[in-house]
Amino acid sequence: MKRNLKFWTRYTWESMAVDLSFMAVLAVVTLFSAEGLDLGMFASIMPYYLCIAATFGMLIINTGSQSLYVPLLLSMGETRRNVLLGFHYYRTLIISVTLALCALIWLLIPGEVSSAGLRSIPTILCVLVASSSMGSILGTLFTKWKWLATVIIIILCGGAGGAVGFMGVAASDSRVITETLEMAAHLEALPWWLALTAVAALALDVAFQWMLLRRQEVKL
């Protein structure tokens, strides 16, 4: 188990680096598009960018984890139970680190945006859990029914492309910060359906993953 944890811990930091890079891209777009930028405000919205990066990052990375790393680790003699536990350890760690970084930034920069951000943490947690589970389910689907996962990935990529396009339009209007804050305001209250979705996605993911993992055949 020790070696399994070592692998997944390293994998977490590598994934975190991808998320932070994506966040940096969003930050640069904001820096170059916003007029009369308030640095305090800019820093306060960074955690939202990190969450966006983590959401898309987990969708994509978890798909890869399931379709590549799970069979790879099985081929290295790891048990299916440990692979499942290791993956959920990684998922917990990456969500915890993302939320901890967000909370830290908001605590260090007091203000209205930061207070709203801190109040949004339960909602963000649910979004991250749901997207992480979705990515994982997609990866599991990918190993078994490639065509179905491909269709879903195309739909999701279309959605993600739309979101990026929307942000681009907002950025070109020099209203990126205002737009971000408007979106963030909706996160303060945790809708019951989101909490339910997150719990259901997680339960479905674990059950589905274990069901397929038990019968999974290693193909590299």
Partner: protein, 292 residues
């Protein structure tokens, strides 16, 4: 210490790929697992290493079940043939990353040996697996197998794509590792002739069943090629296990597998020659209809 599998059955789409395979793999031997394409070699190795579940049957190591047993799995390494094509996620992984993951998971990983082999094979570990040639991918699997130091190590077509020099290097390294560690190796290969000298025991798998599991030399010694005029050959091998008859005009050649105490009737005008492992394998698995 022994690895034992009992009545392994593996079914795909209603077809038995492995049919009640029972084997006892002893420690400190080099086994050759040979069989035609689709005989079930890779499936068998995958099941022995708990990488694939069996439809029924069990695999045990020292009496302990191997499936989902980390302690048993630590003693087994099945270094699979890598298929790093464009569709595979492995294609984007660098060789050094693959080796790093292997080093993390195999408790006894021999880092100095890894460095030595990378240098010996002149392997560019900074390259992505998808950019490596088939021979270089084989080198990666050989490095994992040898450096894992697992008591039971399985290699699936380890010399596929290797040039003759690299193949010689591999067999030399294998014998070096075997004599210094006493590990058990199971090598699945199609290049039988080259491997014959290093294989102590041979397991012949045919259509999902174990046909032969015996000492390689004893198996080769039990087979002879008998040739001559057709009627003389038929008379000389009458009552014996005859395989792979070949007829050219009035001449005939057959491969005969002799049981202890059996002999070819040499009073007939026939030529009796020893056969190689490859020849014996072809005679056994090449043409079922030739058996009489």
């Amino acid at each position: 210490m022994s690895l034992h599998c009992e009545n392994i059955v593996k079914t795909y789409s209603g077809k038995d790929v492995l049919d009640k395979v029972t084997l006892d793999i002893q420690t400190g031997k080099i086994y050759g697992l040979i069989g035609r394409n689709g005989a079930g070699k890779t499936t068998l190795l995958s099941i022995l290493a708990a990488q694939n579940p069996a439809s029924s049957g069990s695999v045990t190591l020292d009496g302990q079940r191997v499936w989902e047993n980390r302690k048993s799995l630590e003693k087994i390494c099945f270094s699979r043939e890598l298929n790093a094509n464009a569709e595979s996620g492995l294609a984007a992984m660098k060789a050094k990353e693959y080796l790093r993951i292997a080093a993390t998971y195999y408790e006894g990983w021999d880092k100095p040996l890894e460095e030595r082999l990378v240098k010996l094979f002149d392997l560019n570990v900074k390259k992505k697996l998808g950019k490596l040639s088939k021979g270089m991918l084989s080198m990666v699997t050989i490095i994992v197998a040898l450096c894992s130091k697992a008591a039971y190590t399985f290699l699936d077509e380890p010399v596929a794509g290797l040039d003759v020099v690299a193949r010689e290097q591999f067999y030399k390294l294998l014998l070096e590792e075997y004599s210094s560690s006493g590990r058990t190796f199971i090598i699945s290969t199609h290049i039988i002739e080259e491997a014959a000298d290093v294989l102590e025991d041979v397991i012949i798998l045919h259509e999902g069943r174990v046909l032969i599991e015996t000492d390689t030399q004893a198996f080769v010694d039990s087979a002879v090629h008998v040739s001559g005029k057709a009627e003389e050959v038929d008379a000389a091998v009458s009552g014996l296990e005859v395989h792979h008859p070949e007829t050219v005009g009035r001449s005939k050649g057959v491969t005969v597998f002799l049981k202890p105490g059996q002999k070819v009737n040499e009073s007939r005008d026939v030529s009796v020659q020893p056969v190689s492992l490859q020849r014996a394998f072809v005679a056994l698995c090449g043409e079922e209809e030739g058996k009489s």
